[in-house]
Symmetry: C5
Subunit: 372 residues, 5 copies
């Protein structure tokens, strides 16, 4: 059994592996009472420069361009063709502000994109629909989270992400093919595609967590459970965090399907229903995992009790056998002058025989009690 204090002496590399994702405290820091339009980036700075990439497409044509200035951006977006503007990096607030004002983003949308501690949500601002998603992946055993925001109208769709992680690579590959449903679809279909890919990442994370649970279970069964407590606690944290990232999405997607927003076409709604379905499936699995982890903790506790029981039994058996024997030896170690047994010739072997009988009797008793 490894105690906590020993865990603490582990090499730091191992400790890090055990420590789950944490909500960085400063992430909550807002300026108390700041006006709702006040823009301030809340979160870790993950990228130095804001990069903008434009995909202007219809079913036959596809223009991809990295733009430097916002002026370059405008002509593409203004066409009737759907345009996907992929923005990476959230730190150059002045630059972003200029971009957003150009396309009439609501001040609350602007604030929410910058606040990377949002819970996932879908909000209908009439002419714009705003989506906040939390991308989750596991990199080097750590749960990485990144906020992805999506804003779309009937003409264009903007995606914002914190780092330059290539999350949407598969989308770009599919977009490269002519006459696909994606190329024929509008910004609403693209929004669906972006949501779908984020949810697909969740399945990967879910699988990793499932694997870890199975490893812990194996450890508990085989009694090699020194790290089990830490691992259980870590997974509990991860499940809580995971759940927080996906739970609110469920209602949001359903309200998007139910509502009569002109921005979402009926054929896209069928696909959104599919996304909603995946969301529920993941939440179900998370809930099951939670119960599993709870059951594992019970097993671990019982494990400790069983071990304690075993220790106590060994102590009891040894003490119960030898304490009476030592007492008998003590008796004949007394120095009374008048102890007739001391001078009898066969006292010594008789005592030995008596002791052996007592011992055997005890052992039989313990066997019967199932203690051995």
């Amino acid at each position: 059994m490894l105690t906590f204090s020993e865990i603490n002496n582990y090499p730091m590399s191992l400790r890090k592996k055990l420590s789950p994702i944490r909500i960085k405290n400063n992430l909550f820091k807002r300026d108390v009472g700041a006006a709702p339009g006040t823009l301030k980036h809340i979160g870790e700075k993950k990228l130095d420069k804001v990069s903008i990439e434009i995909h202007d497409y219809d079913h036959e044509h596809l223009d991809i361009k990295k733009v430097e200035s916002i002026e370059e951006c405008k002509p593409y977006v203004d066409t009737v063709n759907p345009t996907w503007v992929q923005v990476k990096g959230l730190h150059d607030i002045a630059y972003l502000k200029q971009l957003w004002d150009e396309f009439n983003f609501h001040p609350l949308i602007q604030e929410d994109i910058l606040t990377t501690t949002q819970r996932p949500k879908i909000e209908d601002y009439g002419e714009q629909i705003f989506i906040v998603l939390k991308m989750l992946t596991i990199e080097e055993g750590k749960l990485i989270q990144e906020q992805v925001s999506v804003v779309f109208t009937d003409k264009f769709i903007f995606s914002f992400q914190e780092s330059d992680r290539k999350i949407f690579l598969p989308i770009k590959e599919r977009l490269a093919i002519n006459n696909t449903r994606m190329r024929k679809g509008g910004p609403d279909y693209m929004a669906y595609a972006l949501m779908d890919i984020i949810i697909d990442y969740y399945f990967g994370v879910l699988e990793d967590i499932n694997n870890e649970i199975e490893i812990i279970e194996e450890e508990l069964w085989t009694g090699k459970d020194e790290n089990a407590l830490g691992a259980i606690h870590k997974i509990r944290r991860q499940l809580l965090h995971f759940r927080k990232s996906i739970w609110p999405l469920r209602d949001s997607i359903n309200s998007l399907i139910r509502d009569d927003s002109l921005l979402v076409k009926d054929e896209t709604k069928l696909f959104l229903r599919d996304v909603s379905d995946h969301t529920i499936q993941i939440v179900d699995n998370l809930d099951n995992n939670r119960e599993m982890v709870s059951s594992l903790h019970d097993m671990y506790q019982t494990n400790i009790s069983n071990k304690m029981n075993e220790v106590m039994k060994v102590l009891t058996i040894i003490a119960t056998i030898f304490i009476p024997l030592t007492f008998i030896a003590g008796i004949y170690g007394m120095n009374f002058e008048y102890m007739p047994e001391l001078s009898w010739q066969y006292s010594y072997p008789i005592i030995w025989i008596a002791m052996i009988i007592i011992t055997i009797g005890m052992l039989i008793y313990f066997k019967r009690k199932n203690w051995m």
Copy 2:
């Protein structure tokens, strides 16, 4: 008491019996960002060849035919008579794709049929209703799961299953009789019949789980609880898994009953209400079982505590009696020159009498404390 490490040394055959169904991890593996129409079979390959069997029937006639090519299939399906097409095996995607396109299956239906990790659901695609069910049986003490998908329109009904398990044999037997309600009914009634049979299987599984719970209970009462912890954990897993397979069905069926789909006739809705009722009954029983298992775990824990208590009592009784006696013997084993008792004539018997009195006193004390 058997510890976990000992459980681990059990023969493998026994271990296997203890290990419950697991969600195969690779089942979650999807291609991240694949287009929604991209068809890929997700799940274990259970059958080599896709087999198709057609049942074309009205209240007087019944045609049963195994078909090889899809062309053979079409004329039967196109008749006004209801036609049940039973498809076994999901691996020959190209072949299935051809079949599905022939009958205008929605791309999302196609994807869902192949993804055997779906949660059960009923979806209305306007001209088609799509049902995903999870068949559960217990074979050789293991919980076996198989996804059964059903698609029906007003003219035909398709059923898809992973293996060639003869799940629907009773349906075929009933279908063989003329003028029954099944023969007079349309695809919606057939869909009900298929759902009903799957739910009937659940009752069998429920019964097996009930039996296992009673066995554990018996073991706990009789104190032969070496395997109880493992068995409790196993049943917990099975209950979680079972619940996941049936819980979503409840709402789905009710929404099918409430909705105004033209594909489901009013007289069939009465029968669907009956299925819904069975579903709720099973969920109720699962929830009760869960509480029972939780109560059993409490009993097991208390069992351990009681055993520990008993061990401690034996130790305490033995130690409390003999430690003072040994001390007395030790006193008179001292080698002081001036110890008057040593030379008294009746010291030795007096000491013995004193010791016996102490022992009896202790025993009375323990009896009073109810420790013996």
Copy 3:
């Protein structure tokens, strides 16, 4: 403290008292895939012969007759007066089938009457309303359950029960009086009366369970808790079972009140609201009892811990006092040639004094620690 293994050695008569009602496993056995109209009695056979008793009444007249053949039955039922047909025994399926077909019972109603493992429910079949109830009583300390089914139209009401237990005797007594509300009321009022009486039985069972809980509580307070664990587990089972029997009724009655069935008159609805109220009251009490039982289990657990603590304290006190003393005695039992104390004259009394001082010191320490 009584361990489980000891409980097992209890005389069988006592064990039986402890063992709560069980869901007989074979009760779930259905023919997988049987057609919905297939009639099969599911449950224990409790009565050999089906007996039918007819009560034809209006506010002035009352005809009671035991009938043998179904033909005898018909003329009474066909009158405009409300007629209550009380059927006891469910085994002669052919006979019952004939009866049911005569009065156009829906096939699903027929199946449900025979399946005595139904959950309670109220179903509206348009021209018939079908009610399933679970009668509960305690006989010789065991929870007895019996399914009571009621079918009523605007003209007649049928009640079906498994055994010939005289459940409805009070109804008959009230029915014997002219011009009562019952005699003036229609089949809907009679249905209410039957439901009301079943619920009245629940209060009796609830009271018995309350009594048992108080007895356990008393036992825990007085420390005579040898049987407490078994009793707690038994009550938990009973509460789960009880709850399953009444919980679904709540929604069913409310939907009957809300719905616009022509079969239930408005004045009867007021009375149904009263039944609904009783149902909720019972469910509330059951939930409170559940929490009470849970709290009792906690107390029991704490009781065990406290007892263990006490055992440990006795051991520790005895060991802590005598082990050092024995050591001192051991010192002067050593056989070194040069031990000056051995030959001092007052060594022996000094040692005794030292030992007594040590003992007193220890006792004061334990007193301070509140261990004695």
Copy 4:
């Protein structure tokens, strides 16, 4: 530590204080199957004689009169002025029945007033609104409950209570003042006032419970927790009971506010919303208290574990130090003829030094382990 068996030996006066309110078992006893109109008082008899007091008022006049016969009562009630008839005592059923029939009380209202085990509820009988409330106070440390029923129409309001406790004294004082809102209001406002006062009593009880929780918390922090377990269990019971008395009121009041009963004026609804608000506030506090109590129980459990730990540590320290020393002493107590150490001159002091070194080493080890 005080064990349960010791608690049992407490003087009876103290025990009583510890034992919480109990649902008197006979309170549930109903006549199974009694007709809904059958009147029977269910509950303890708290008052011998029924007393009736009439308050006939408008904004300028107030008539208060104790009446003996029901005839005296009628003229006051029949006026257009609102009249409050306060009835105390529920045992003279014949007398009450006469009163109720005079004013056309629905039979179910009559039955419910007499059944003092009702859950609180508000029921709309069209021309009458019927309210059941549970008054709670703490008298001499015991939770006292009394059922208060209120029936009002547009002209009069009746209140019924079990005992002659002066619950409504503050109402009478306010009623004595001319031109207040109460004097201007109708029976609906008076009904609000009666409800409001009952809820005000709840705040007092809540405060008492809060105080008890703080006392227990203090006891747990200071380690004087001998009575904590009993007190925790008592409060749990009280909270359950309290919650049952107020929980159903929440929905009832809200439905009264929402419904379009002509008997409740719009301006009264604002006040009812206030009552509803208080109800929710109390339920919130009860739920928080429940969690607090649960947390206290956890603390208590941990307290026991910590104490056990301490006991074990003392035992271990003493045993670990002295058992090896005793062994060494035992070695040199052996009587072998050839033991060279025995005759060495400095053996004895060397042994002493060795023993002291061992002891110091052990103590350092324990210090490091933080056991001392």
Copy 5:
């Protein structure tokens, strides 16, 4: 390990830090049965004098004035420009009553402003909307709560607070700037701004609680968990209290958004949705924290068990090794005349060797059992 009794001996300064916010008992004290309009301040007196500050503004002008008499106040409020009247201190009831009557505050609003134990709520009184908020901050490690009430019509907005804490300083700073949204907005926007700032404070408190949880977690990992139990209990209390302060807000805000109050403009509703969103985010975090704290308590419990286990192991190892050895020494300390071993020449070294072998055997056994 620090026991509770030791915690009690901590210096008082430390104790205070450990003790969480308490609901002052007298806060519940109401006058039972007081008329709804009866004004009484319930809560701690935090300020001696009531101070009133007026902000009369439109997009171009801003008048700020501290007023002494209520007459001074009126002209500002009566203008068409929105006016924010900030009132600090709630003790001069006569003065406040005069103010409220001047502006036609509903009696229930007046009562609720004075009752500082309100739960947060938003109530629509037709021409006035009334908002109760609980401001939370952490000052010197203690959770400070203050009730803030807001009343607004289409012309003016009043805010009431208990102390002269400068909660709304940021609002005033923003108000000082011309042509901002706040200056252009009406009282409804100001109400939003006040709510928003209160919620912003919550994030700060949330962060402090998060920090404390991480500290406890760190302590548990490193085994320095002497204060953990107290800290866990404290955080539990804080979370319960926090939750109570924010939970009801969620529904209130949503009903304000949904309802058709003319007092809240559509563009303000978008901002209210944002506030609602923050509320939900905080509740989510609180719930996660609750689960985290519960998991930490489990860890602490397991920690104790592990420590106990370690103690027991040390005892068992020492006892198991030395008790048999002492027994052997005891054997050869017996004084029998005929013990052949005593006179053998190598008995003594042989015994030593035997003892060493036994010890080594034991140690190997313990190593294998992983006890060392």
